[in-house]
Symmetry: C2
Subunit: 352 residues, 2 copies
């Protein structure tokens, strides 16, 4: 598995979109924040010390530290240009922060289910990414990767607090579990404010597609645990799973109600989205996301046939600026991106 595969093709396993409850849940993510006890935390460390952390991880990896995961690859951020970094962000394999800072590294397993960032906010950010709702599976795999590192390094850990992290909000389990939900039904029915409000009240955080501070686009929302202290990982996973299942039920019920109340209006909205996606010559990423959300709902409701539901995930990634520039091999102006995006979308949508 070479770097090129990650950069040029949408091969990440989570994009297959074949996980449980995949008509509502796009993906499940678990990430663990970890730090090494023998080094200053990244925020405090100088360039030399950061370099030493990377060297140690690389040596350990070269000696087969992650052998249990099958074939893995190691990518240093310094070796990538801006577009290549952005392409990894677009695939959710590294954080925007890691891409921005330009140093640090990432270790990836063969299908992008595991990505381990080194020297981001913490020494390690172990991330597992699954399609559909698979919280137990994602936690299980993250925990296995955690054990591998634990046997090779001494973690910064306190018996009272648990894992120590750069940001106090991560202290304890160091875990953030999240599910990415596609909620067009609730959005169209105007019920999102109520549903999302309820979620906040039970200790979960709701964010837009691209994480903290990002606006929601394409009716896609991330729900994740608020706290990392005072609950075990299993309790957090279980609570989040319960909330996710409830939202899924509400979303599916609402879709049925919309169909029953005015199926023609629903079909109209979906077919118009299809018509624009299949024909537009210029399209912004924001508009594309809104229309792809409608298209995906149409596929889920069997109104639009002959298109794979994974078109949403694929185009979520492929129409991002970084990915587009990677595919077309050069820096593109915003207008050029809008044209290339439209071109790519037409190609995929017209396969029907």
């Amino acid at each position: 598995m070479s770097l090129d595969n990650f950069l040029n093709k949408s091969i990440s396993r989570w994009m297959e979109g074949d996980g449980p409850h995949s008509s509502v849940v796009i993906s499940t993510r678990v990430r663990l924040a970890r730090n090494f006890g023998d080094f200053a935390f990244p925020g405090q460390a100088g360039a030399q010390e950061l370099e030493k952390v990377e060297q140690q991880v690389r040596r350990w990896w070269n000696q087969g530290g992650l052998k249990a995961l099958g074939k893995t690859s190691s990518i240093s951020m310094r070796e990538l240009d801006e577009n290549q970094r952005q392409a990894l962000v677009d695939q959710h394999l590294v954080s925007p922060n890691l891409a921005r800072q330009g140093y640090g590294m990432v270790l990836l397993d063969k299908d992008g289910s595991v990505s381990i960032m080194v020297n981001e906010e913490d020494h390690l950010r172990i991330q597992t990414l699954f399609s559909g709702l698979q919280l137990a599976e994602a936690w299980d795999l993250a925990s296995r990767v955690d054990d591998l590192f634990d046997s090779g390094f001494r973690y910064a850990w306190s018996p009272e607090l648990g894992y120590l992290t750069s940001c106090p909000t991560n202290v304890g389990t160091g875990m953030r579990a999240s599910v990415m939900l596609h909620l067009p039904g609730l959005a169209w029915a105007g019920q999102l404010p109520i549903v999302l409000g309820t979620i906040s009240k039970v200790g979960m955080v709701v964010r837009g597609l691209y994480g903290e501070g990002s606006e929601s686009q394409g009716n896609i929302y991330q729900i994740s645990n608020q706290t990392t202290l005072g609950q075990s990982e299993e309790e957090i996973i279980e609570a989040l799973n319960r909330v996710a299942l409830q939202v899924i039920r509400q979303e599916l019920d609402t879709r049925q109600k919309l169909l029953e109340r005015d199926g023609v209006a629903l079909a109209d909205r979906i077919w118009r989205a299809y018509g624009i996606l299949a024909n537009a010559r210029v399209i912004t990423s924001g508009e594309a996301l809104e229309l792809l959300s409608s298209l995906r709902l149409g596929i889920d409701l069997n109104i639009i046939k002959g298109l794979s539901p994974r078109i949403l995930q694929e185009l979520l990634v492929m129409t991002r600026p970084g990915y587009l520039q990677q595919v077309f091999g050069r820096k593109l102006s915003p207008r050029e991106r809008d044209e290339k995006r439209a071109e790519l979308i037409r190609e995929l949508v017209n396969k029907k």
Copy 2:
């Protein structure tokens, strides 16, 4: 040629859209207002007198008064239901007024090039309708029909004023000549206010698609002569022709400029319109007109291939409420009309 042909099919000759300058001019119309000297004008006449006018015209017609036009048909408004009347309005064969009042009659030649309303605002409204810019031809045919009536009836005519009419604005020639122009280029470039303002200054009147008081829809404008006194018919026709040719040149120049300045943006707008028309499940007549205007421009600029330019004329007529109800054989609610309209449009647009 039976009544059914006019009511159920778009067969009017003007809709063929193959006349001169048809990329800008949809149709040319000339109408002559005439009254008989031996009867009170319709506004003053009682039911009996109106009936007598119709009887006289019908008798004259039965005796071959219009034989020179080939096969013609006579339709009494009283015999039509509301939908049938509206369908004739939609084809521009009778005025909304005649359909509304519910009495009076219309004489039609075999392809809808000639339509003569009896007992509308005046005893006779002789109308000729041609595709493209054909003012001389339309005037010539109207004049021939006028001569036929002139030889069978005594017109209300004064040596000082000319033809006398119910409304003083028609006194003199009794002629209104008009061209229907499709001006998407000027509209998109924001130049319509200037161009239409200039037209008003040279003694012409600008109206929307459905005549006096109607708003412009689909970037379609009617330009007609303001005055009927003090100029000969030939002078009026010539002046209107000059103005029309100038607007045509401005429209075509502007289309080229739009193409050169940002052809991709233009294509985007056109293809989006196509995409929506080809896929929508519910569409109002106003939105349909706007999108059909874009589609037609795309056909004229050879951006969209495989569709006939006459799709605009056909759908202008076929998507009108009256026509839809006629086609589907019953009174339709506004929402049903929007659905049936979308269905009809999809069928025609997807022939591509």
